[in-house]
Amino acid sequence: MAFAENHINTDVPEKDVFALHFLQTLSNLSTQNPFSSPDKKSDRVKKIKKAAYVSMARAAGCTDRLWSRALLQRAAKRNNKIVRFPRRRKRVTWLRRRSNRRDPVEEAAAERLRNLVPGGGEMKTSKLMEETAHYIKCLSMQVKVMQCLVDGLSPK
């Protein structure tokens, strides 16, 4: 039973799934507030940025992942605000066996990582690394999708 829990899986959906979710979220945005409306520029950028993170979390399977659940919860809480990843103070100990001889650089890097991955403050280190791998894959997928859109829209 512990075996299934420890099984490491960092597979992510195809790029199309991310594109679809992003376009859908953008579409909802534009019906609420057309992109050509004289909105403040910084507000528009924030909305698009939020759309990027939220749609990424949805594409990644909403609540299947700790990071996407944390991200969506935070986005809902801070509605109309930029999605941010605040620093978490809660410390989670490493494996005791390992921490006895862990070097301080490694420990500091793990702490920084906790602040970068949504919900990272509450994860055990092994979980943190698994979630980080998944988060990185999804983020780079999202960046690719956005880059494609920008390239497609840019005047030739």
């Binding site: 420890n6 490491i8 698009i48 494996l95 990582l113 990185i136 829209l153």
Partner: protein
């Protein structure tokens, strides 16, 4: 005495993840990092280095999302390009 031993055995078997699995995760992370992916002596890269590079990479990706959001916002607001109209019609269907 015996109670202590059985507890430690139990915890290492179930709730704890072995050193080997941690190392697997480190390697998995390393393979995702452009900076370290292609390093020849992959076994020489320390866990600390992998974690540090992971942080840097995530930060770069966040910055890219920022930049691309800004560019997208400009492009979507710009009514002149035919592609924008196309995408907009796609979005507002």
């Amino acid at each position: 005495m015996s109670g202590r031993r059985s507890r430690s055995r139990q915890s290492s078997g179930t709730s704890r993840i072995s050193e080997e699995q941690i190392n697997d995760l480190i390697i998995k992370l390393q393979q995702l990092l452009p900076e370290l992916r292609d390093s020849r002596r992959s076994d020489k890269v320390s866990a600390a280095r992998v974690l540090q590079e992971t942080c840097n990479y995530i930060r770069n990706l966040h910055r890219e999302v920022d930049d691309l959001s800004e560019r997208l916002s400009e492009l979507l607001a710009n009514t002149d390009t035919a592609q924008a109209a196309l995408i907009r019609s796609l979005l507002t269907q």
